[in-house]
Symmetry: D2
C-alpha cells in the first residue's frame, strides 16, 4: 500500500496513520523524495484501505499488489518524465538519444564527439571514466580527472553527461560533474550502491543484470526510489543465453513488459545488447518499435582505435544514418 | 565449394568433375533441386577452385567458408523469393503475413477466419491439424479430414495454407492440401523429416529449435536444400531463457544475423515468441524493424474460447490494428 | 486417476467403469502394456475416487495429481526394474553400466570393445549405427548392416546392445537386433516416434532434450507408457547453458528430482554431459552419489581415431579405472 | 608472466627487472602478498623468459598462458591450503565443512547451532549478519551487533566464522570478528570490493556469479590476489538456467574444471545450489565425488521457522546424516 502524504501533513497526523497501520499489522516505511512524502506500508493481511484513507494528512492512497511498490504502474499511471534541464527530457514525448564512446580517452576525442553530437541534435553524451573490467590488469578509465575534462567540454555545448558510478565513495566526487549516474549490469544488485544513489537528487540509469530478471530490475529501482530518489530510468542491455552467434542476447521482450509494469522510462542499449557493430542499427530500430523511450549507443570517430571494446561501436557516419532512421521510427510510432 | 552445373552438362563432364574433386580429396554431393543441379564438394585441404572451374559443364563455382553451403549468402547473394502462386510471394518486396488460429477447430471457425483475412488483404492462413502436445492426453488436432476442409474453404478464396507436418508418413497425404509445410520447433533436428521434405516440391517453413542455435537452423535448412528443395524459409519463434516474465524469449537478434548469413526469407513468430497476447503487437513491429520478411501470427475470433492455447492469440480487432501498423513499418523500412 | 483393471475384467465391467467416468466428465484412456491393463482417466472436477473404486473389475485405483500419470511415483511407489535377460537388470540393486563407442565403425572395433567389456564385467554395449548429425554432409553411420554385425558379435558373448533409433520406419528393421532402443536428445519430443516405441515390447532409453525440462522428459515417457510399453528408462545427458568452459552442462540436479517423481530407472551420460574426456570420471562418480541407477559412457580403444567425436571418449585404461571407482561408489551408497 | 622475487631482492634489482620488461614492451604489476613479492608482467609479444630469468633478485619465473595469472595452476602446481588456526585447514587433506543458518537471528539460535556443530566435529559456522535482499523492505540482517555476538559465542568454542561482506566500508568493522569474508554471488564482479579484500590479511570465499562463468570467477579471484591476498577459496553455488523444477542449477561441472585450472580450494554450496531441502544431501555428496575441497551448507534447528529462506535448510538430524555420509565419501575418494 502506498500512502501519499499531504505536503502539510503534521507529525501528529503521521503518527496517527502509523498507529492505524500498526494496529493492522502493517509496517510503514517512510519515504521522502524530491517530489513528495510517502508511507510504503507492507503487511500480509487483507485490509480495507478506505479505513486508512479517511485519516487526515493523506493526499492519496493505493493498494499495490506487486511486490515492488513505488516503481509500479499500479500506483502511478502517468509516465515519469526526467528533466535534465536546458530542455532535455527523458520519458516525455521526445525520444532520448545518449551517444558516445565506451571510454573517455582524452580531450581531443571528447571534442570530436561533442561536435558530432551537437551537429546531429543529440543532447546527451555517454562515456566511461570508471570502467569495470573482467581482468584487474586492464585499463580502468581516466577517473575523476577525466570526468572533469569530459564535463567541461560537454557543458560548454549544453551536452548532458551520463557515466558509470561503481561505488558509494565515488558518488560525492562525481556529483557536480554528471547529469545521469549509470549503474552497470554488474552492479545491478549492489544494494549499498543503490541505497546511496537513492539519497542524492540526480537521475540514475539502471542497467538490467547480465542475467537479471525483469522483477530484479524493478526491485533495484525500488531500492533507489524508497531511499528518496524518483529520477530513475531502466535499461535493457542484453542478457546471457546459450547462443554464441552474437555476444549478448538483446532481450526486447523486456521493453513492452517494463512499459506495462512501471511508470519509469525504459532505455535500450543495442551496442552491448547484441555486441556486434553491424547489427546495432536494426536492433536499435526494433527497440523503438518495441516501445523504448530512448537509446544509449556507442559511437566513436574510429571504432577500430577505441581504447576499450570497439567491436560494437558505430562510426560517425553509421551513427548519423541511425539517428535519422530512429527519428522516422519514433515519428511513425507517435503517429498511431 | 558449390559447383553449379550447366543445365546441359552431360554425364561424361560430370564424371570428369567428380574425378578432379576426388583427386583433391574432396567428396562431391550431387544435389538436384527444382531449379538447378549442383555438386556440393566437401574437403579439408585448401585448393585453387579455378583448377576445377575450368572444367566443362560448370556454370558457376564458389568457395563457401561456412560449414553450411547451399543456404549460405556467401554463395548466393540474391535473396530467395518463394512464389506460392496467385501473386503471393515471400521474400520479395512484399511483406508476408500468415495469420490464423493455433488449431483448426471446425468449418465455422475456418470460414470466419478466411473472411477476416480476405477483408484485410492477408493471403496466407495458418492453422494446425496435427498438433504436437507435451501430454499424450491432450487434443492432437483434427488430422487429415480437418486439413481437407481447411483447404477447401481457403482455396475458394485464394487463401494459401501453412500447417505443421510432424512425420514423414504425413507428407504424402498432406501434399495436395497445403501450400507451405511447417516444421515445428520440436522437429527442428528431426533429420529424417528434413530429408523427406527435401524431396518434395513444396515450400517449407522451418522453425528454430526451442533452444536451437542460428547455426543449427541453417544446417537444418541445408538438409532440405541438399535433398533437392530450394523453397525454404526460416522462422524465429522464441528461445528458452531463465526469464519467467514471459513464456518464451523472442530472439530478434537472430533476424539481422540470419539476413546476413543466408539468402532464405526470414519470418518472425511473435505469438509463440513472447507468448503473451498484449505484447504480440510491439514484438511483431520490432521484428519488422529488425529486418524480417514476414510474420506468422495467431488470430482467433474469440481467443478465450480457442481449443488450444489462446493466451498468445489476438482477436480480429487487435489483428487489424496490427496489420495496419505492420504495413506502415514495412513501408518506412522500404523507404530508406 | 489411474485405474488398474483386474486381469479377468470383462467388457461389461469395463463398460460400466467407462460410463461412471463419463458421468463425472472424465475421459478414460485405455492402456494395455506388457504387464497390465489400465484406464487413465483425465478430468477437471474433483471426484471421490472411492465412488469409482467400488465398481467391479478394478484391481486398484489411484489419484495422481501430477500431469503425467503412469510414470508418476505417486501411483507406483516400487521402482521399475527392467530385465534384459541373461541376468542383466536395470533399476534393481545392481548398477547398470553401458559402455562403448559413439559410432560402430567395423568388425575389428566391435570385437575389441566386446573383449574389453567382457573382461570388465560390463554387460551392455552402446554404439550408434544411425547417427543424427548437424550437417547433412557428415557420416551418418553404418546403418542396418552395421547393426547386424554389431548384434552378431555381441550376442556371441551375451553382451546386450543399446543403439539409437531415429524414425518410426527403423523400429521394425532394428527390432530383432537391439536390446534397448535409445531415443536421442534431438528426438525427445518426436511424438510420433514415442507413440510407435510404445507399441513394441522392448526397453527404451529416453534422453532428455538438449534444453528439455524434467517435466517434458516425464511427459515423453508418458507417451511411450500410455501406448503400451512400460520398459522405459530416463537419461540425463547435459543441457544447454551460457557457460562455454565445457561442451554441455551435465545437470545432476535432475537425478534426485527424477528419482523422487518417477518409478523409472534414471541413467546418467557423463560423456555427452560435460563433453570433455578428462572430466568424465568425476562427473560419472558424482552422478552415482546423486542417485543414478546406471551410466552410459563412451569408450574407444583409440579415442583420437574415433570416427565421430572422440573428445569426450575414454580409452580402455581410463574406463577400467572408472568401472572400479563406480563399483566402490555404488557399494558405499548401498551401504547407507 | 609471473616473476617471484627473492625475499631479499633490493630496489636496484627490482628496478633492473622492470627496465628489462619495459624494454620488451611488458607492463609489470607489482604484487605483495602475505607470503611473497611478485611482478605480474603483461605484454603481447612472445619473449624468451630466460632472458629475464637470469636477472638478479628473481626466485622463480613462469610463463602463464591463461589470461588470469596468479590464480592459475599453470604457475603454482601445489594446491593452496588456507590455515584458519586452531588446526582448521581448508584445501589440505581434510574436507572442510561450513554449516549454519542463512541469517543470524539471536543468541539462542547461535548457541544451539554452536552446540550442534561442536558435537559433530564441524569447525566452521556460517551465518549472515548483512543480508542482500531483492526487496528493500525485507529484513537485512542484525548487522555489526549481531556479528559481535556471533563471534563471542563461536570463539568460546573455537568455532570459526564465515559471513558475508557487502561493501568496502564494512571490511574494517567486521575484520576482528570474522575468520572468512564471504563475497556473495551478486557481488562477484563488484571490483572495488574485490580490490579492498585484496588488501587485508584474512581468507575470502568468493561465490560464482548467478550466471557467472568459470573464467569470470577466476578473474574475480585474480583481483583479490593481485591486490595482495593469497587466501582465497572459490565456491560453486548454482547458476541460472531455463529449468524451473529446482530453484538454481547447481553446476557441478565447474568443480573438476576449477580444480584443473587453479590451485585455490573449491567449495560447493548445495543449499543455494539446488535450493530445495530434500535434494541437498545427494547434491552435496555428488559435489565431493566431483572433487570439491569442502562444503557450505544451511542448517537450522527449525528450518520452518528460520527468518530467511528455510526452504533449502536442513534440520540438525538431516545434517548429522549428511556429515556422516560426507565423511564416508571423502574417505573413499582419498583411498583411490
Amino acid at each position: 500500500m502506498i500512502i501519499q502524504l499531504k505536503s502539510d501533513a503534521n507529525s501528529q497526523q503521521i503518527e496517527a496513520i502509523n498507529q492505524a497501520l500498526a494496529d493492522r499489522s502493517y509496517k510503514a516505511n517512510p519515504v521522502s523524495t524530491q517530489h513528495r512524502n510517502y508511507l510504503v506500508a507492507i503487511g500480509k493481511s487483507e485490509i480495507d484501505i478506505r479505513s486508512i484513507g479517511v485519516l487526515e494528512g493523506i493526499a492519496d492512497i493505493h493498494r499495490v499488489s506487486d511486490q515492488y511498490k513505488l516503481v509500479s504502474k499500479k500506483w502511478k499511471l502517468k509516465d515519469t518524465v526526467i528533466d535534465l534541464g536546458d530542455g532535455v527530457n527523458i520519458g516525455s514525448g521526445d525520444f532520448a538519444v545518449m551517444a558516445g564512446p565506451c571510454s573517455i580517452e582524452g580531450e581531443e576525442q571528447v571534442e570530436s564527439t561533442v561536435e558530432h553530437l551537437a551537429s546531429n541534435g543529440v543532447r546527451i553524451m555517454r562515456g566511461g571514466v570508471y570502467k569495470p573490467r573482467s581482468s584487474p590488469y586492464s585499463f580502468r578509465g581516466l577517473g575523476q580527472e577525466g570526468l572533469k575534462m569530459f564535463h567541461r567540454l560537454c557543458s560548454a555545448k549544453s551536452i548532458k553527461i551520463i557515466t558509470e558510478v561503481m561505488q558509494v565513495s565515488q558518488i560525492k566526487e562525481m556529483f557536480d560533474f554528471v547529469d545521469i549516474f549509470q549503474v552497470g549490469a554488474r552492479n545491478s544488485q549492489n544494494f549499498n550502491l543503490l541505497d546511496a544513489l537513492g539519497e542524492v537528487d540526480k537521475p540514475v540509469l539502471l542497467k538490467r543484470g547480465i542475467s537479471g530478471t525483469v522483477d530484479e530490475l524493478l526491485f533495484a529501482a525500488e531500492y533507489i526510489f524508497s531511499n528518496g530518489n524518483e529520477k530513475i530510468m531502466l535499461c535493457e542491455r542484453g542478457i546471457r543465453s546459450y547462443e554464441k552467434a552474437y555476444r549478448n542476447t538483446l532481450d526486447l521482450n523486456a521493453i513492452p513488459i517494463l512499459k506495462e509494469r512501471t511508470h519509469l522510462p525504459v532505455i535500450v542499449d543495442p551496442s552491448h545488447g547484441i555486441g556486434l557493430r553491424k547489427y546495432v542499427e536494426p536492433m536499435a530500430l526494433a527497440g523503438i518499435m518495441a516501445g523504448a523511450d530512448g537509446i544509449i549507443v556507442e559511437v566513436h570517430e574510429q571504432p577500430e582505435k577505441a581504447f576499450s571494446d570497439g567491436q560494437q561501436t558505430l562510426n560517425y557516419k553509421e551513427a548519423e544514418i541511425l539517428y535519422r532512421k530512429m527519428k522516422d521510427c519514433f515519428r511513425l510510432r507517435e503517429s498511431w
